[in-house]
Each structure stands twice: as C-alpha cells, then as structure tokens.
C-alpha cells in the first residue's frame, strides 16, 4: 500500500496550448478511496491515465509512496487498472482464472494458492474456487474479475468509469460492493466518474476538476457544506443548488424585493471588483415553506413535483424576478424546493418560501470563490 502524490503534474497534448491537466496538486493518503469527478473534458481520466503511465507527464511529477514514477513504464508502477468485466476463461477453474497473472510473474505455486484463497475469502468465493466460471452467477463472475487484480497485491487500484457498461440497477448495487470491498482491502484506490452521486456515495474524499484545473478536494460532507466556488456548488448535490446573482445593499441581499440579511463578516469579504453584487446559493432543503407575504419570503410557481417517497421536490418558476434580470437564479429562474412528501403542492399553485437563516452559500461575483463559512443543514428541520 502507498500514498499517491501529484506534484504540479501537467499534461499538454501536442498541438494544443491549454493543458488537459494543469499543475495538478493532490496528496492521496495510504488506503484512501479518492474519487476524481467532473464534467466531460475536465481532465479526470487524463489524470488517472497519467498515474497509470498511459499519458505522458509534461511538467511536474507523480509519486507512488516515495518513488517517483513519472517516467516509469506502466507495468513497473505496481498499479492495477481494474476492469469490471474481464472475459473469464471458460475451461479454467475460478482459482486459475484469478491466479494466472501470478503464474506469468513466476510466483511459486504455494504462494499463488495462498493469495488466491485470501482473495476468495474477501470476495465470498471460497466454495467456488475449484469450479468453472459457467457455474457462477453474473455478480460472482464480476468478483472473480476483481479477484484477478486483488491477488496481484498492487500498491494502488485504478478504476476508470468501471460501472459505465452496467444498467442503472446493477450500477447502484455494484458501486456499494466496490466501496465495501475497498474498505475491507484497505488498498489506496483512485476512481474516476462523471457522476457526482457515485462520487459522494463512494469516496473517502472527492476531487472536483473542471477544464483541467482542480477546483476542490475534500470529504463528501465538506464538498456539500462548503463548496469552494460556484462551479463546485452547482456540480455537487442532487437536485442541484439554486444559484443566483443579487444586489447587496447595506448588508442585505435584495431577493425579489425582499431583504435577506447576510452575515457581517461575509459582507466584509466583498471586494471592489464585486461591484456591489454577490452570488448566493441555497440548497433545495434550505428553503422553508411559509405563509404568503412573510417577511423575506418569495413566491414560487409549481411547475413539476418530483415525489421520491422519502422526499419530494418542487421544480418551480419564480413568480417575479428575484435576482438581477440577466443573471437570475440558475436555469432562467428555476427554483428547486424540498417539501414535505406528505404535503405536496399542486402544479400551477404558488408556494411561498424563505431561505433558512445562515443557510445561504455566498460567493464573490468577481471571482466565483466562496466568501461565507460552511453551511450545516439540519434535515429534520423541514416543514
């Protein structure tokens, strides 16, 4: 096992000016499950492939433990790329399917058997070791494929969108299994996905990338409660955070004609470049339904209600503009509100909502960087 360090590592494709990965600085702890997440083209897969040795590192270095692997061949890095769906060899036993790579590495027979048995125990495959793959269920076969990587006892596992060829149901099941397995093995793992829900549910920590630049790295809780900038705020969380630009006057944000108080020190962090405007975000669960015309509240016209059983979300339209017209709340005035699933408003109805005090995320309008402290939402406080 080992730590992994990206030390200002860059990848610049020949013929392009902008780096695909730009001075990535990331320290991954021994045994940690780190998820690289971001939209398509953000550099997450490129970063993983730089660590695997598939992409050149044009500037900076990459370390596995204390060892500089920047210019080491992929097979000599002691890293395993894990595929979820290897083809299994039909005439070989499960044990041979798992252990054949060790045979190639000329590991002695007793050692191979011992490692295969240890891996089988972790994977609940002990009783199948002497059977052929044909006798296994789909899930068991996938575990045999994992076993192939595990017996090699690499320092680091790498997984690049391993669930992308599974259907939605199996994807949810498998992601839980992978996360549980990684905790049992305790092997440092770097995992790439474009799906922020996958990232939040699997990672010890998450690194969000955009345009080749690391935006923020932290635990799922930190990313949710204190997104470092507007991009991370909009990317992490489902449904997404409501975000808009508002005029600030005397320590109050003007939201739809209503004054919303901002903390003094947050307002104090405003710069001249912000020109009297701030970007404010509030999560769907940070809005309370209140009586019409309550002070600081604004009306939302219900467009769609998404009922999930345990939760319900109103996808609504602001009845009148609350922010600055051209830079209104995200998605042209759409507001998402979490409501009591046992008291759901009807389509077309107006509901009055109010941002719960202290639950707004405030960002500089000039730099998009976070100005306010972490927000802790108390889920039980929903009306």
């Amino acid at each position: 096992m080992a730590t992994v360090t990206f030390d200002k590592a860059s990848r610049i494709y020949p013929g392009t000016e902008r780096p695909a990965v730009d001075s990535l600085e990331l320290d991954i702890a021994d045994g940690e499950f780190l998820v690289l997440v971001g939209p398509s083209g953000c550099g997450k897969s490129t970063s993983l492939r730089m660590l695997a040795g598939l992409e050149d590192v044009d500037k900076g270095s990459i370390y596995v433990g204390d060892r500089d692997v920047t210019h080491v061949q992929p097979k000599d890095r002691d890293i395993a790329m894990v595929f979820q769906s290897y083809a299994l060899y039909p005439h070989m036993t499960v044990a041979d399917n798992m252990g054949f790579a060790l045979k190639i590495a000329k590991v002695d027979k007793a050692e191979i058997r011992q490692r295969v048995e240890a891996a089988a125990k972790i994977l609940d495959l002990t009783e199948y070791l002497d059977r052929k793959p044909k006798a296994l269920s789909g899930g068991q076969r996938q575990r045999v494929a994992m076993g192939r990587a595990i017996v090699r006892q690499p320092q680091v596992f790498l997984m690049d969108e391993p669930l992308s060829n599974l259907d939605a149901k199996l994807r949810v099941q498998t992601r839980t299994q992978i996360a549980a397995l990684q905790r049992r093995l305790g092997t440092t793992t770097v995992y790439v996905t474009h799906d922020q829900v996958e990232a939040l549910t699997m990672g010890d920590r998450i690194a969000v990338l955009k345009d080749g630049l690391l935006q923020q790295v932290g635990t799922p809780r930190e990313m949710y409660d204190a997104p470092a900038n507007v991009f991370v705020a909009g990317f992490i969380g489902s449904p997404a955070m409501n975000i808009g630009t508002f005029n600030i006057d005397g320590g109050f944000a003007n939201v739809g004609g209503n004054k919303i108080a901002l903390e003094r020190d947050v307002v104090g962090r405003m710069g001249d470049a912000d020109a009297g405007k701030l970007i404010i975000g509030f999560r769907p669960e940070s809005l309370d339904r209140v009586a019409p015309n309550t002070e600081g509240a604004f009306p939302v016209e219900v467009v769609v209600v998404e009922e999930l059983g345990s939760d319900a979300f109103v996808y609504g339209q602001l009845a009148k503009p609350v922010g600055i017209a051209e830079e209104a709340v995200s998605d042209a005035g759409q507001v998402i509100v979490r409501v009591d699933p046992r008291d759901v408003p009807k389509k077309g109805e107006n509901v009055w909502v109010k941002i719960r005090p202290g639950e707004q995320h405030v960002f500089s309008s000039a730099t998009s960087d976070r100005l306010s402290d972490a927000v802790t939402t108390d889920k039980s406080a929903t009306v």
């Binding site: 769906s85 039909p90 070989m92 793959p133």
Partner: protein, 439 residues
C-alpha cells in the same frame, strides 16, 4: 421508449425479434458460427443473405463502439464493419432490454479457437500471434489504443501462407493523435497477459499440446511487435550515399507490405549527417498494387503471391512491356480459368485468392514429380484431391460448433447445440472483375 435503430438503412432489421433477450432468440434466426470468449451475449444472425453479429450492451457503449468502428474503418484500419445500434428494446411485459450493437460478419474469417480445433500445421499458433502483432502495430500507427488486446478480440482470415487479423471489439479503445510510449507498452503487456491466459485455457480444454509453453507464446507477441514497430518507425542516420539508403529503406518497408507516405529528413547542425525517419506508413503495399493492376481486392500476402505469379508470367510470355497489359493477360489466361475451375459446391470453402494461392502450392508439389505440370492440370488435381478435405469457411463451421460454446456469456443458462447453417452467399466469389456470373 420506442425501438430505435441507428446506422443501417434497412427496415427489415425491425423484423428481428428485438423484444426477446438475445440469449433466447429462436434457432431459425441464428447462424451457427463459432463464438469467441465474450463479456457480452453475442449471437450471429442470418439476415437477407448475409450474417450479422449482434452484441448486447448498454446504449452509450454500443453507440460509442459503433462510432469508433466507423471512424477506424474510414481510416483504413482492419476491423469489422458496424451495421447498426438498436436501442429502446422492451420485452412483452414492458421491461427494458439491453441495447444491441450490430456488425457485419467478416466473410471467411475465423475466431482463433476455431483454428485450434482443425487439424492444422504446427506453426498455426505462431502465425496467429504474428498476425495479431501486425494488427496491433497498424492500429497503433493510426493512433488507436486498444485497451484489451487478445486473440479473442480479433478475427483471422487466411492470407496465403499467413493470417490477417481484424479488430472485432473496440469497446475499450480510444483514438488519439499519437500514442504515448506508455499506451503502446500497456497494450503490448495486456496482449501478452491475455494471450498467455488464452493458451492456459486452451490447455485446460485439451485443445493445445501441453508441450507448448504459454509464456513463450506470450513473449512472441512482444518480440514481433517491437521488431515491426522499430523497422517501421526507427530513425537512421547516414553520412554518405544518402539517396541510396533512403531508397533501400523504402524498399525494405515495401517488402514488409508497407508504403511510405511521408518521410522526415533532418540534417545535423554541422550538415555532415542526415537522419531519416518514416513518418506516415500505410499497410497494403501489395494489395494496392494488385488492385490497381487487376481490380482484384485481396489481402496483403495473397496479393504478394498473385503479383509474383503475374511477374513470372510476364517474363515467360516474352516480357510484355506494359505492366497493365501484362496484368490483363495474366488475369484472363491464368487467374480466372483457375478459380473458375472450382465447382460451385466448393466455393464456400475458401476465398478465390486463397484457392489460387493453394493451387500454386499444389503445382509446386506436383512439379517435384513432373516439372512440366501445367496450371490447368494442377487445378484439376487440386479440386479432386485437396479441396474436398477443406471445411467450409465462408460463414459456417457447423461440424464443431459445440466446441466453441464458451458457456460464459450465457449467464449460466446452458446453450443449446446449434445445427449447421447453410448460407447461399458467394459475395467473395462474385467480386471477380469482368465476370458477373461464374458459370
């Protein structure tokens, strides 16, 4: 969601039983072809006189692989031809079914396992590995990183003495402007590991002699790849007689079957030395020449063999100066009469160019006893004594289908034995120039 077909412009594709999982498609739709080891359910389907391969997978992957194969084909890579993506499948209860990628079956191609179950010469294995090494080099030259190189993920066609390999599974691959040394090294390492695994599996199935060392077989792909890659791309520096060296380098690449599209020449700063490095090389030197001269579209080694015979004919017939005219005469006097001598019932066994190659071999064999043996005599003897013992390889290998059931892609459900299928396709035979009808 309604059934959606992207790619093929053939409404009859809608008539296939898309509302049934591929695993349980009715026998009368299926073509009994040997299947390789696959992660997915794969079946061969008879469709309007041809054979299609259908693979179940999730929709985004199917679309990605379809586009990738299309792009690779456009670039001239040896790979299967994508036909369609079928999405929005539901069964009779309205449950969603996996999407499907449909590709055209490559005529006269064989999966490697089928070749091991035929009594073939000892060096079949090395010829397969060599073919895979050539395929990998060609794909790497185009900037394609495969990500899962194996014998199972390729198909093989007889090509004179050798085999030609074709990419069939592009699901893990990526196209890049240029590959990094790391990407190439990783592909080679994967190829080695997978081939060794495949050899272990053949031995476990008692289809490969235990005397064969899988590790040696695996090492061969690495050696052959590196040899070929270096020959095609390495830098050479010369002090004098540069013109001669450049010509020799180009000739050496031509002999290997590659044309040089672009050559980088760099003079050292003091002007005393010149460094040359082939920048763009295209496979298919001989097959392009044969196509230009005769209109015959055949594989590289077959073309080499046919061209040799044509050149010999030209010398023997008094050295016709015009190459095109000589080719024309050779086609009419030698090639066509030879392949026409093959009775219709044997035409599903081998491609015409491969038949011609084997007849040349047979004539050489006969000439040991009677040096004056003619081509018509050789072909008559070949049709009588050799060809009948060949299995049909156009699209059917019915007699040993049961051995190719891998049992893995069937999710535990025992796959029923499939009866041999007879197709009436003779595309490859109809492609002869100037001859619409063969008899």
């Amino acid at each position: 969601m309604a059934l959606k077909i992207t790619g093929a412009v053939d409404p009859e594709l809608l008539d296939l039983p898309w509302s049934v999982p591929l695993e349980t498609w009715p026998k009368d739709t299926l073509a009994a072809l040997p299947r390789g080891i696959s992660r997915h359910v794969v079946r061969f389907v008879r469709f309007r006189g041809r054979v299609l391969a259908v693979k179940e997978t999730v929709a985004p992957m199917a679309t990605r692989e379809f586009d990738m194969l299309k792009e690779l084909g456009r670039m001239g890579a040896p790979c299967v031809v994508p036909f369609a993506v079928v999405d929005g499948r539901v069964d009779e209860n309205g449950e969603e079914l996996a999407a499907a990628l449909v590709t055209e079956h490559l005529q006269f191609s064989l999966p490697y396992r089928a070749l091991f179950s035929q009594a073939l010469r000892d060096n079949t294995l090395t010829r397969l590995i060599d073919a895979l090494a050539v395929l990998l080099v060609r794909l790497h030259l185009l900037g394609f990183y495969w990500g899962d190189v194996s014998l199972s993920n390729a198909l093989f066609r007889r090509d004179a003495e050798a085999f030609s390999a074709y990419l069939v599974d592009a699901e893990t691959g990526d196209l890049h402007r240029d590959l990094t040394p790391g990407q190439r090294a990783y592909d080679i390492d994967l190829a080695r590991t997978n081939i060794i695994g495949e050899m272990f599996d053949l031995q476990a199935a008692a289809e490969l002699d235990d005397a064969v060392d899988p590790l040696e077989v695996g090492d061969r792909i690495e050696e052959r790849y590196k040899e070929l890659w270096n020959t095609l791309t390495e830098k050479q520096t010369y002090r004098e007689n540069v013109r001669k060296h450049v010509a020799a380098r180009v000739q050496a690449l031509n002999d290997l079957g590659f044309d040089v599209g672009e050559l980088d020449m760099t003079q050292t700063s003091d002007g005393s030395e010149l460094t040359i490095r082939p920048k763009v090389v295209d496979a298919g030197h001989h097959s392009r020449r044969l196509l230009r001269l005769t209109g015959l579209d055949v594989q590289e080694n077959q073309a080499r063999r046919l061209l040799n015979d044509m050149d010999e004919y030209r010398v023997v017939m008094g050295g016709e100066e015009d190459e095109v005219l000589a080719a024309h005469e050779w086609l009419a006097d030698v090639f066509e009469p030879t392949v026409r001598a093959v009775p219709r019932e044997y035409r599903r066994k081998l491609e015409p160019a491969q038949v011609f190659h084997e007849v040349l071999d047979h004539r050489w064999f006969l000439a040991e006893k009677d040096p004056s043996v003619t081509m018509p005599e050789a072909v008559a003897s070949y049709v009588k004594n050799v060809l009948p013992t060949h299995p049909d390889e156009q699209a059917v290998l019915g007699h040993e289908i049961s051995e190719f059931e891998d049992g893995v892609d069937a999710a535990g459900v025992p796959v029923p034995r499939e009866a041999p299928t007879h197709t009436t396709m003779i595309h490859a035979w109809q492609n002869l120039p100037r001859t619409g009808q063969l008899d």
